[in-house]
Symmetry: C2
Subunit: 329 residues, 2 copies
């Protein structure tokens, strides 16, 4: 390339990176030569020489979960604003895959890492050793000194339970997330606290432990509805489990809102299409992703950004009417 332009590699580099002072004719020569050859600087070599890769890693547990898809989109767009390419890993709700992606991303020398982690701190030694600037998003890992952007899980669940008890429900079935995630744990704890506070039935059999996937939501709904004394309201800890649970209700010809109330954690557009539409605990996913990137950028710049907790908002729709006097099958 350089020789085609009749200059040294150094000059070509200077022209292409627009760095140092170059002559007009050198710029011309290099640019035409580059264009003709379809020359593309090798990012690997550049990263090797510089310290940065202009790349951040995004480690998500499940890209098929609309919440994380939205989050990915928000992160990616914001990262672009700062000139970073987002390297994407889908842990598939598996510790093994998560670890392997952390490994790969560290090997790729990402400049920073945004992760919605699972498991304990031990599993993420790499990150926690401070090997790379890291921000946790949505989920956190206990005992990790890592800035995070999370949602107000406790407030969200509390609002939902209070809402349901106000509407006359005392038996609230809860389809929980996996306890290997901070969100799964926090939301379950919040459910228990809210149940205690409101005086709703504190019955361990009203809790089903799912895994944030649709099938477990279905299993949970079956289990709860089969109880001798079934719940009059269902609350599921994410949108995918909600979908599974609602499918079971339909299967059994239980009408949501009439035969059983329903609240979903996470809002997705399709939930507004249901009849009645679903009452949900919603968040500003876009803000969450955006803020996570901002924190990471600050961290990369050597600052120590503060963690943030974004508010939850209960959106009341038709799936949680006041409880009628009548019984349900």
């Amino acid at each position: 390339m350089a020789q085609k332009a009749g200059v040294s590699a150094a000059t070509a580099s200077r022209v292409l990176s627009g760095h140092s002072s170059t002559s007009e004719e050198a710029r011309q020569a290099v640019r035409t030569a580059a264009a003709e050859l379809g020359f593309r600087p090798n990012a690997q070599a550049r990263s090797l020489r510089k310290t940065s890769t202009q790349t951040i890693g995004l480690l998500l547990p499940d890209i098929r979960n609309p919440f994380f898809a939205d989050l990915a989109h928000a992160v990616e767009q914001r990262a672009r604003d700062f000139g970073y390419l987002t390297l994407f890993g889908n842990a598939n709700e598996s510790q093994t895959q998560q670890d392997s992606y952390v490994d790969v991303m560290l090997s790729q020398r990402v400049d920073g890492l945004i992760a919605a982690p699972q498991g304990s701190a031990q599993d993420l030694r790499g990150l926690l050793a401070g090997e790379v600037p890291t921000v946790f998003v949505d989920r956190v890992v206990d005992g990790a000194a890592v800035p995070s952007v999370t949602a107000d899980n406790t407030g969200g669940i509390a609002d939902a339970v209070h809402h349901l008890t106000q509407r006359g429900h005392r038996r609230i079935g809860y389809i929980a997330g996996p306890q290997s995630t901070s969100t799964g744990r926090e939301r379950l704890q919040a459910y228990r606290a809210a149940v205690a506070e409101t005086g709703a039935d504190d019955d361990g059999s009203l809790i089903y432990l799912g895994d944030f996937q649709s099938a477990s939501g279905a299993a949970g709904a079956r289990c709860l509805l089969d109880l001798a004394e079934p719940p009059t309201a269902l609350l599921a800890a994410d949108s995918l489990m909600s979908i599974g649970a609602i499918a079971v209700c339909n299967e059994r010809s239980l009408t949501i809102g009439r035969d059983v109330a329903f609240v979903a954690y996470d809002d997705i557009e399709a939930f507004t299409l249901l009849n009645p539409a679903l009452t949900v605990i919603a968040h500003d996913v876009h803000a969450m992703g955006r803020l996570a990137v901002d924190l990471l950028i600050a961290e990369i710049a050597g600052e120590s950004p503060e963690s943030a907790v974004l508010p939850s908002r209960l959106i009341i729709r038709g799936s949680t009417p006041s409880r009628p006097e009548g019984k349900r099958p």
Copy 2:
């Protein structure tokens, strides 16, 4: 690292890559040293030396579209099987972002590229110049000699239109995808052909050009339903536009299945929750992603794999009952 283990860099490299012959004691020394130092080989440097990066690029138009999220998942999992990391780009249905991602990925020297492209061949000169093994998935670009894995758009739409006419519909409103995509074009053409073939109303005003996003589905539904002689059935070219369209039907208290029939292109789980559930044109997204990776691997290996067209399947559910005699508002 090497000196900590008391060996040369070459020996360390050999041990870590498990390549050449090494002595037991060298292996021990290197491995313990590597573990103690938390040593991680630099993938950049390795890629620079080797020709491959063990990385493929995946360029998708919209990760928030469940179809592409599923596709991303399938591709990523399959790529893992071959030891490839998937580098992910979300073009956001924008040509500019698409081009910039192609640029970045080529700079990153991905070993191959899987893309659901938009626009014309001119916009993707880089790929088409054969700079890197490429496979198109879902969408293609005209005039490009690139293997592809697509769905049978024509068959899917034809089945849907035939189904609707058999159920007594003559005015079928079609919310089309953008004509800058091959899927948008093919499906629209198939709609027109099927309308002509079945003798349904061939009325240009029954066609609305959307952009595969939810808002345009809503706009399309409003436009079509406002017609002096509105359609009795609606067909939308993807799931997002379907969601927007259904929201409008609900808004107007039109009951799907009773007041207006509905068929969505692409199946998503939430569609089965609607009451009635949606009739959809479904595909095996997982197979599509998997096959795309397989083709790419073959291409990387120097072969010339054949393009594949995966079948569409019409899943008939409650949203398309036989047309009653009664009119709709």
